[in-house]
């Protein structure tokens, strides 16, 4: 899919507005995961605005493509997208993490339209996505399954159990994306627990591996296009991203992994985002 300049500019504007929304939500909530929400915005925009066949008015449409946010702490970004698409009233965003709100700190399928499965305890989403992809094969259905992992999340052993399953069952209707922002809560992955070489590891597990800039909408769209054409093997897109992307003083800063912006920080961040 070649993105026209106009389309790309339109989607970039949506991404910018989503970042504003995410920062406001998090500041209002007073807690939450800022860095890893900002790093996945373009991935979510590409999926929800270009790739997924879905119907916000009918979240349980049986032939929909499925999306699983395995790195559940990225929930604010997903909530902002779902609200914008009218899966639920955007007034809910300001009640994120509040006792009278619908939106839980991590995705909860039972309360939230558009969430396929609850996540938060890391490492489980790829297995869940495999189950959905197996069901599609059994039903000879056309729906595709997308699952977004954190790079730190691949330290969980279950990810590798699931990686074997996807390849063993030839789940070419499955596309995993790794939000490769290279940071985890305690520090850089390379110093906490090195996961590299990710590409070779996944290739050796029987996957097609694509690498791309995780903030470039055209590159992401092209990678998803490629994953759709691939037969017999599952696809992984390693999306190289910047934690805290879009706010200069948050970019690449571990401090913003699990901390919400203060009101002053929000003000500063909004000035930057308004002036893009």
């Amino acid at each position: 899919m070649l993105l026209t300049e106009k389309k790309e500019a339109e989607l970039q504007e949506i991404a910018r507005q989503l970042r504003v929304e995410v920062l406001k939500m998090l500041t209002n909530a007073g807690s939450g995961h800022t860095g890893g929400s900002l790093s996945i915005i373009e991935i979510l925009v590409t999926l929800y605005y270009l790739k997924l066949r879905h119907d916000p008015q009918n979240p349980f449409w049986s032939e929909r493509d499925r999306f699983v946010l395995s790195k559940g702490h990225g929930a604010p970004a997903l909530y902002a997208v779902l609200a914008r698409l009218k899966y639920f009233d955007s007034a809910e965003l300001q009640k994120l993490r509040k006792i009278d709100g619908m939106l839980q700190g991590h995705p909860f399928n039972v309360s939230t339209p558009g969430i396929e499965i609850s996540t938060g305890s890391l490492g489980q989403g790829l297995s869940v996505a495999n189950g959905m992809a197996l069901a599609a094969k059994l039903n000879q259905a056309k729906w595709r399954v997308y699952v977004l992992l954190g790079d730190g999340e691949t330290q969980e052993g279950q990810i590798w159990e699931a990686a074997m399953t996807s390849a063993h069952y030839h789940l070419d209707n499955l596309c995993a994306i790794i939000d490769a922002n290279k940071l985890q809560i305690d520090g850089p992955l390379c110093s906490i627990m090195n996961v590299e070489p990710l590409k070779q590891k996944w290739q050796s597990f029987g996957w097609q591996v694509l690498e791309t800039n995780g903030h470039d909408l055209s590159c992401l769209a092209a990678a998803f296009d490629q994953s759709e054409k691939t037969q017999k093997v599952p696809s992984l897109i390693i999306a190289h991203t910047i934690k805290g992307k879009g706010v200069s003083f948050m970019e690449g800063k571990i401090e913003y992994h699990g901390v919400a912006p203060t009101k002053e920080e929000l003000k500063k961040a909004l000035v930057e985002l308004e002036n893009v």
């Binding site: 499925r66 297995s127 189950g131 959905m132 159990e161």
Partner: protein, 314 residues
């Protein structure tokens, strides 16, 4: 009591029968399909059977994904691996997410026998009972296993069905109707109530016969559903018989005995004795020898019944 049949043996057969009726049923196993008896289903429905290899965590979450699409996954392995190895997956992907997945665990309790403590699950009921939205079912014989399964395929929500390697005597007849959440009155009596689950129901019936000869009338309740627990039957038994003995092939911590103790303590304190594994691991041995070694016998039930009756007030 007549012949003995393994609950896992009837499971394997019933699964195939139900699989023919209900196309949504899919079966997952973690490299133990001969032992769990799902190999029969795999043979008849190879496309609806998924061997996940030795990867229980992946198996549970994969089942959750299948369930989101309307499939009815039956997930199978030994009890200790199903509940212990994959507890967080069960908690998040099944219970919290409210997915319609049936975990069917064979090889529960010490009657696993020779394979020793690593393979004997005496903690599984406890691990499953604490989870919101989870149902816990422990059939007392092959007939109840079949009836429970017929019920479960129509029921919605995560369920833990606890089966055994050991053969259990048949105590129910073909007319038996399984009702989730209801204790089953097997024999009535007014001096004491024996509340048992799984293989211990048959032991409780043997104890009841011994007690009858001594003039003691024991009510025997089969607690095949441990969650939701039949609170009404427990309170009624406490009020009507004034003394209670629980019996289970499981730790006394967190299992049936605990569930009963919780209700009694809160609503009607009553003399109680819990028979089960007393905070220890199992050992290798023949299944029947192990039941004797750990005091899971009719004779021990008889002794404890007499003790608990002696503690009745007035």
């Amino acid at each position: 009591m007549s012949k003995s049949i393994g609950t896992r043996d009837v499971y394997g057969e019933v699964l195939v029968r139900l699989g023919k009726q209900i196309p949504e049923i899919v079966v997952l196993d973690a490299d133990l399909s001969c032992s769990t008896r799902t190999a029969q289903f795999a043979k008849v429905f190879p496309e609806r059977f998924f061997n996940m290899g030795i990867a229980e965590q992946d198996m549970i979450s994969t089942a959750a994904g299948l369930a989101t699409t309307g499939k009815i996954p039956f997930v199978n392995t030994f009890a200790i691996f199903a509940t212990g190895r994959a507890w967080d997956q069960i908690r998040q992907s099944l219970c919290y997410s409210q997915q319609n997945v049936k975990i069917v665990a064979t090889h529960s309790g010490i009657t696993v026998g020779e394979d020793s403590a690593t393979h004997q699950a005496n903690e599984d009921i406890s691990l499953m009972r604490v989870l919101p939205n989870m149902s816990v079912i422990v059939p007392a014989d092959a007939i109840e296993t079949e009836k429970a399964m017929e019920f479960l395929v129509q029921d919605k929500g995560p369920t833990y069905l606890r089966l055994s390697r050991h053969k259990f005597p048949i105590i129910h007849d073909e007319e038996y109707i399984f009702q989730k959440g209801k204790a089953v009155l097997i024999e009535d009596g007014s001096d004491v109530t024996i509340m048992a689950t799984g293989i211990m129901v048959s032991k409780a019936l043997e104890a009841m016969e011994i007690l009858k000869k001594e003039g003691i009338g024991a009510r025997v309740l089969n607690f095949s559903t441990i969650k939701p627990i039949d609170q009404e039957a427990i309170i009624k038994a406490a009020q009507q018989t004034g003394a209670i003995v629980t019996a289970e092939e499981h730790s006394i911590i967190g299992g049936l005995g605990s569930a009963v103790a919780e209700i009694l303590a809160e609503f009607c304190p009553t003399p109680l004795k819990r028979i089960g594994i007393r905070d220890s691991f199992g050992i290798s041995g023949d299944a029947e020898d192990l039941l004797h070694y750990f005091g899971l016998t009719p004779e021990v039930i008889v002794k404890e019944v007499k003790d608990v009756i002696a503690r009745k007030k007035g």
